[in-house]
């Protein structure tokens, strides 16, 4: 599943490491999600959306037709 985490993270002025720290995961995990190598769990997806102050629909793009 594609996502716009990098875009919203940069808008928020957060580094990968800082976002990872706020979501209690490693920087490598955030990097893998941003590069579409790994789909996060529902809990982590909510944590990232909450940290970046966006909705899940804004953050993740379903492969089955648009947002």
């Amino acid at each position: 599943m594609e996502n716009r985490i990098k875009e919203y993270r940069e808008k928020s002025g957060l580094s990968q490491g800082k976002l990872a720290e706020k979501c209690n995961v490693s920087r490598q995990t955030i990097n893998a999600i941003e590069n579409n190598k790994y789909d996060p769990s529902l809990q982590l997806a909510f944590d990232i959306a909450r940290t970046l102050k966006v909705t899940m629909e804004e953050l993740f793009i379903s492969e089955k037709g648009g947002k």
């Binding site: 209690n24 995961v25 490693s26 490598q28 995990t29 893998a32 996060p40 769990s41």
Partner: protein, 130 residues
């Protein structure tokens, strides 16, 4: 990986090389194979890879969800690799590709077990959700 962890990883690799080298030397020089040194060389090699990957000799330590995903996927892949390796060891050690000529029945049972372990585990584990 910090400097201390790199040094420990290097030490475990040196330990592996020493034990494996000693076993190889004994085998070539005296034509004797010591099961203990084979076992401990594999153990040292597992410590080395665990240190390299997780920074812990038994593969423990704090893990986030990507680490757990890596563990789960690696376990599945590792299982099938082990299945192929056990079959190869059976046929190579027996020196034949014909089942009727094989005498090492415990190893045949081990190879057979690799076929049924996952299906049975999946069957039992699926009961938790059905």
């Amino acid at each position: 990986m910090n400097k201390t962890k790199k040094i420990i990883a290097l030490i475990t690799f040196v330990v592996f090389l020493s034990i494996a080298g000693f076993s190889l030397y004994k085998w070539i020089k005296f034509k004797t194979v010591d099961a203990g040194s084979i076992f401990f060389s594999f153990l040292a090699l597992s410590y080395f890879f665990n240190w390299l990957n997780w920074g812990h000799h038994e593969g423990g330590g704090e893990k986030d969800e990507l680490d757990r995903h890596i563990e789960t996927q690696s376990a599945k892949i590792g299982y099938y690799v082990l299945m192929i390796l056990s079959g190869l060891i059976l046929f190579i050690s027996e020196g034949t590709g014909k089942f009727n000529n094989i005498d090492n029945y415990p190893l045949v049972i081990v190879v057979g077990l690799t076929f049924i372990t996952v299906p049975i585990t999946e069957f039992v584990y699926s009961k938790k959700y059905k």
